[in-house]
């Protein structure tokens, strides 16, 4: 665990250093730019802007929008800037919503709540009989319009230092090409949180890629290569094609390096995320099948209702969540933890009931147990279907399970999956302790080894059966709890897990905990690794072939100990 964390931290630090260097470099440029705009006054510019917009000529509109962007930040006084961005925001929204209109003789108005305003001064005016028309927004103009609006809103939202309108930032990330350089420079100068600054630099780098200035491009390339993702890769690959190899051989090299670095990181990230989601699926599989494996070893019985016990576990979790929400809303975020004992006891109790009322009577007829437990499973499915309906349950996801730690490329350590993995490890330790260190565990092992002998030396085999079945069912219920925030929860969800759980039991060997761990990892990994490439069927086929191959050599599973039968 500790080593796993240190690696991403290193990358984050590196990224921060690069970002701060690039910010310093950028701050210089903006000072030069602002001087130019001081030559005409703000009021003159506003008139100029309105004329240009009323022209309805796409090229002129685009140009003047960019000028507006630069003008909003061409002042040192934050108050002035806020005033200008407010005006820009008002006017551009007006243009977008066709509340800004021009007449042929050059008169204009902006309509706000049934009032007609002068677009320059924002004072109320009376309008005559002249025909007013909204300036036509050609398609190529729209992205510029939207981007300048978003950036102006962003700057306007800087009233309280450090806060940023994140929805606007997301808009910018979609269309980095149309961002006004001066506005961007201003934004980067102001006080920002690390993550917002990172995102902004990233957005700016996209724009800089298309710059005529070779230095800017190479800087952008370097910036981008530190943040590997599929998006950067496509952007850089596109730019790489436009670079003239004769004119800028160095740039080509930088671009190629960046591409290589990013693709490599993406590959690693991809591999890591496959391993990660494989681990989390394996954890669920382990929880689902450990009970099956122990009970199979003990009684030679497979419980076909195991999948439904998983489902019941998820539903109990849901009920407890709903109860908490109704009675102690403040405790709601902890509902998953609070549910653990309830889920274990309720599903364990159901397991005990199944053992007591069904399995026990079918002692010497394991095949009939399959049918009987199937009967139990359809009973449970329909009980839940009648009382809860067939739709997927909506689980509340507590804040501490939302999101995750972005580590590398597209690889994200999501908290909910991490919680599942840790949970499974805890259960594994608990099970190992139970089986290896307690008297109950010793009895389980004795009965598994030789039932009649264990009975003869005074082990109450019936009680051992009952308790093991209950514990196995309880663990299945916990699997349901663990997967509730990751997978769909509905009455028939059990079927999706039961077949994989069978494969785990067959592969891992009867009654072997480590065998189950190993087989769960194997089946889980194969499923997650093969599924995105060749589909779910291929994954299942592969596992099936593996099983058939394994039982040719070791019919009792990989981990079964050799004993005289």
């Amino acid at each position: 665990m500790i080593r796993g964390h240190s690696c991403p931290r290193f990358f984050r630090e590196m990224a921060k250093i690069i970002l701060s260097i690039s910010w310093l470099a950028f701050a210089d440029n903006s000072a030069v730019a602002s001087d130019h705009f001081n030559k005409i006054s703000w009021i003159e510019f506003r008139n100029h802007f309105i004329t240009e917009i009323c022209s309805s000529k796409p090229k002129r509109m685009k140009a003047v929008l960019q000028e507006l962007g630069s003008f909003t930040v061409a002042n040192q006084d934050p108050k002035v800037i806020r005033e200008r961005t407010q005006w820009a925001t008002d006017l551009i929204s007006g243009i977008q919503k066709k509340r800004f209109r021009c007449s042929k003789d050059g008169k204009t108005y902006l309509k706000r709540e049934d009032k007609f305003l002068d677009p320059v001064s924002m004072a109320e005016i009376k309008i005559g009989d002249a025909k007013y028309k909204a300036p036509f927004l050609h398609l190529p103009v729209r992205p510029t319009l939207e981007t300048i609006l978003a950036t102006s809103k962003l700057i306007n939202s800087l009233k309280n230092p450090g806060t940023l309108d994140l929805s606007q930032l997301a808009l910018l990330e979609k269309k980095p090409d149309f961002i006004n350089t001066d506005q961007m420079a201003y934004l980067l100068k102001s006080q920002l949180s690390d993550s917002s600054r990172e995102r902004l630099v990233f957005v700016r780098a996209f724009k800089m890629l298309k710059s005529e200035n070779i230095d800017e491009v190479s800087e952008a390339l370097r910036n981008l290569s530190s943040i590997p993702s599929r998006k950067t890769l496509t952007a850089i690959t596109k730019v790489r094609k436009t670079i003239d190899p004769v004119k800028d051989p160095e740039l080509i090299e930088i671009a190629d390096n960046a591409i290589a670095e990013i693709s490599f990181s993406i590959q690693i990230g991809k591999a890591m995320s496959i391993v990660y989601s494989g681990l989390s699926y394996s954890s669920i599989l382990f929880l689902a099948s450990i009970g099956l494996a122990i009970v199979f070893g003990l009684m030679g019985v497979i419980n076909l209702a195991q999948g439904e016990l998983i489902m019941i576990g998820a539903y109990v979790t849901f009920v407890i969540q709903e109860c908490l929400a109704a009675v102690f809303p403040s405790m709601l975020p902890l509902y998953l933890l609070i549910s653990i004992p309830f889920v274990f006891l309720i599903t364990g109790g159901m397991g005990a009931l199944i053992e007591f009322s069904v399995i026990r009577h079918l002692y010497t007829r394991p095949l009939m147990t399959l049918l009987a437990t199937w009967g139990v499973s359809i009973f449970l499915i329909n009980m839940i279907r009648v009382s809860f309906g067939t739709q997927n349950l909506e689980f509340y996801v507590p804040d501490y399970l939302v999101g995750g730690l972005s580590v590398f490329g597209d690889f994200l350590i999501t908290w909910n999956r991490l919680a599942t993995i840790i949970f499974a490890i805890v259960i594994l330790i608990f099970t190992l302790f139970l089986v290896k260190k307690t008297r109950f565990g010793m009895n389980i092992r004795a009965v598994t080894e030789n039932r009649s002998m264990a009975g003869a030396i005074g082990v109450n085999t019936r009680k051992v059966d009952l308790l093991s079945f209950a514990v196995g069912s309880g663990l299945a219920g916990l699997a349901g709890l663990a997967l509730s925030t990751i997978y769909n929860v509905n009455p028939t969800m059990g079927t999706n897990f039961i077949v994989d759980a069978f494969m785990v039991v067959v592969l891992g060997g009867v009654g072997s905990i480590w065998g189950t761990v190993f087989a769960a990892l194997l089946v889980g990994m194969i499923n997650v690794a093969v599924e995105p490439l060749y589909g779910a069927v291929a994954a299942k086929v592969l596992v099936m072939i593996l099983i058939i191959a394994v039982i040719q050599v070791r019919p009792e599973g990989i981990f079964m100990m050799k004993v005289r039968k």
């Binding site: 050799k562 004993v563 005289r564």
Partner: protein
């Protein structure tokens, strides 16, 4: 003695389960025409030896030759059985849902090729079944379900099933366990009748008196090794054997 006299020849056999070794470098010979007893305390490796001989258990090293020349290493149960090794299990294992006749019929067909095994029985084969039934004393209950037979009759039926395949070696694991005196005598007579130059018979038994009655010579197994071999009278007086059977306490003391 030539090779053709050897019914079973075991050489340097090692069998172990995990770290626990059951048979240790065992070498053993059974000749045709012989009735060989195998005795020894529980856990000495008697049943494991039979398991290794019949292909039920894999052995780590060593060789087993059947009828002087067939090395059975790696062969499965049916192949070994067709080489002429017939085995009666400790617990009578017969097809209890089938009649006595059907049991014998199945046994007769089992040794044959698949296609032959689904033909109608020839009159010669029917006669053989009837002869065997007389031999094992079950000619009166040919039509009965085998599951309804008495314990002793089940044991005889199982021996009868083995005979149907004309075996070279009969391996009898505790043939008189759970039998009364009269049944024991009958079993001893049966073994006596079966004895012949074409067949070797191995009897694994706890009942010393029975072993003494039917066996020509005895092998005493102890801790996976052969302790003594020879006629029962000699073996009985061997101090090592007495020690193994009676002197357990003195060893521990």
């Amino acid at each position: 003695m030539t090779k053709s006299d050897q019914a079973i020849y075991v050489s340097g056999l090692n069998v172990s389960f995990g770290a626990f070794s059951v048979l240790k470098n065992l070498s053993w010979l059974v000749n045709f025409g012989e009735v060989k007893g195998v005795i020894g305390p529980n856990g000495a490796g008697k049943t494991t030896l039979l398991d290794a001989l019949t292909g039920k258990t894999e052995y780590q090293s060593g060789d087993i030759f059947v009828r002087g020349r067939h090395n059975i290493k790696g062969a499965n149960e049916p192949v070994i059985a067709r080489l002429g090794l017939g085995r009666k299990f400790q617990k009578p294992s017969i097809f209890s849902g089938l009649s006595v006749f059907e049991n014998l019929e199945i046994a007769l067909r089992s040794g044959k090729a698949i296609l032959q095994s689904i033909n109608q029985l020839t009159s010669h084969e029917k006669e053989k079944i009837n002869e065997t039934a007389v031999l094992i004393g079950l000619s009166d209950c040919l039509g009965k379900d085998a599951g309804t037979l008495a314990h002793g009759q089940k044991q005889w039926l199982e021996i009868g099933m083995l005979i149907m395949a004309d075996p070279a070696v009969l391996l009898l694991d505790e043939p008189v366990a759970g039998m009364n005196g009269e049944e024991r005598t009958k079993t001893a007579t049966l073994i006596d009748k079966l004895k012949g130059p074409e067949m070797a018979i191995v009897v694994v038994e706890h009942d010393m008196q029975f072993v003494e009655t039917v066996c020509d010579s005895v092998t005493v197994l102890h801790d996976g090794q052969i302790l003594v071999e020879g006629p029962m009278q000699d073996v009985k007086e061997n101090p090592q054997v007495i020690d193994v059977y009676l002197g357990r306490d003195s060893e521990n003391a």
